[in-house]
């Protein structure tokens, strides 16, 4: 029997894992924004950034655990680019059910991952209506990527931007120590 758990998102089992996670994610975002709002009143920039960091922090811990499970059997990575390619292909497939469409780098520690149909944004409508809400739904995923990289030995800063729904770009800047 394939494992059914939110930590091992296996795409092809025919079980409801994927939909469960999408619903859970939407509810997490709604909860963080709703609960904090009731305590502090109106949103202002400082509150908004603390909510984003709560979501990102959750994603970070999940990313750390996930990468441990997903790289258990794979051989060691040769270099940074190898790690990023792993993130774009195997990791993205396991977590977001598709591969990254485009990876660009300046070969100096900055990578831009473009996903044209990001699966946590496909539930929002394609026009401009929810463009300013989109970053809330990307915070968790930024954390997942940052956690995964951190456990592979790369400290980074991960940000995401959306210009045309549902396509989004994740920018990863590796911190050199």
């Amino acid at each position: 029997m394939p494992e059914v758990s939110l930590f091992t998102l296996v795409p092809s089992t025919g079980m409801a894992d994927d939909a469960l996670f999408e619903f859970l994610h939407m509810e997490i975002v709604a909860h963080v924004y709703r609960d904090l709002q009731s305590l502090k009143g109106d949103t202002d920039t400082k509150d908004r950034s603390s909510r984003v960091s709560i979501l990102e922090g959750m994603g970070y811990r999940v990313g750390q655990g996930l990468i441990e499970r997903l790289t258990r059997d794979s051989p060691c990575f040769k270099d940074e680019l190898d790690i990023m390619k792993f993130i774009c292909k195997d990791f993205w497939t396991k977590v977001f059910r598709r591969q990254v469409d485009n990876l660009r780098t300046n070969h100096q520690g900055t990578y831009v991952l473009q996903d044209n149909k990001f699966n946590l944004l496909t539930q929002l409508s394609n026009g401009k209506q929810y463009l300013d809400q989109a970053p809330k739904y990307l915070a968790f995923s930024c954390g997942v990527v940052r956690g995964a990289l951190s456990n592979l030995g790369l400290e980074s800063v991960v940000t995401a931007e959306v210009s045309v729904m549902p396509s989004c770009k994740f920018q990863v800047v590796i911190q050199k120590l």
């Binding site: 930590f7 811990r61 750390q64 655990g65 996930l66 990468i67 441990e68 499970r69 790289t71 258990r72 794979s74 051989p75 060691c76 990575f77 040769k78 456990n151 592979l152 030995g153």
Partner: protein
């Protein structure tokens, strides 16, 4: 004497799969978990594990330099002392496992050590995925303890 105790056990018991010390070291080189057979001087094992870390680093950097080589996670025999043999394994997240076995236990084959490491790695992955465990904290999981107990020599 623990050694005599092992010989008198019937053959089908896991006489051959016994370690005297098992340790899990974080990537920053501090121990996350270390357990040794309590009849021996534990400090000696802590020291052995600590000195084996140098050899681990050496093996990792040596393998990294050989081009096109897909480095394995299992590092093999790190170094033999007159009483003990020390084996190492490193995960992709740079967490190291060290197993120390008695030198006189010659029946332990390489692939048995590999399977011990695999079991440790699997159990460690489960610990990492436990939401109540914070990465970087010492491991306090009963399931992990049981896996390790299954591999250690029984205490006299």
């Amino acid at each position: 004497m623990p050694h005599c105790h092992v010989i008198t056990q019937p053959a089908h018991r896991k006489e051959t799969k016994m370690a005297v010390c098992i340790a899990v070291i974080a990537k920053e080189n501090y121990p996350l978990y270390i357990r040794s057979v309590p009849t021996q001087n534990e400090l000696k094992f802590h020291y052995t594990v600590h000195t084996s870390l140098d050899v681990v680093e050496e093996k990792i950097s040596a393998a990294g330099k050989s081009l096109g080589d897909q480095r394995e996670l299992y590092l093999g025999l790190l170094y033999p002392t007159e009483d003990y043999k020390v084996y190492g394994y490193v995960t992709n997240s740079k967490v190291k496992f060290v197993i120390v076995v008695d030198s006189s236990n010659t029946s332990l084959r390489d692939n048995e050590i590999r399977s011990m490491f695999r079991k440790l790695h699997n159990s460690f992955t489960d610990v990492m995925c436990n939401p109540f465990h914070t990465p970087g904290n010492p491991i306090q999981s009963k399931a992990f303890d049981e896996i390790v107990s299954g591999m250690m020599a029984p205490s006299a």
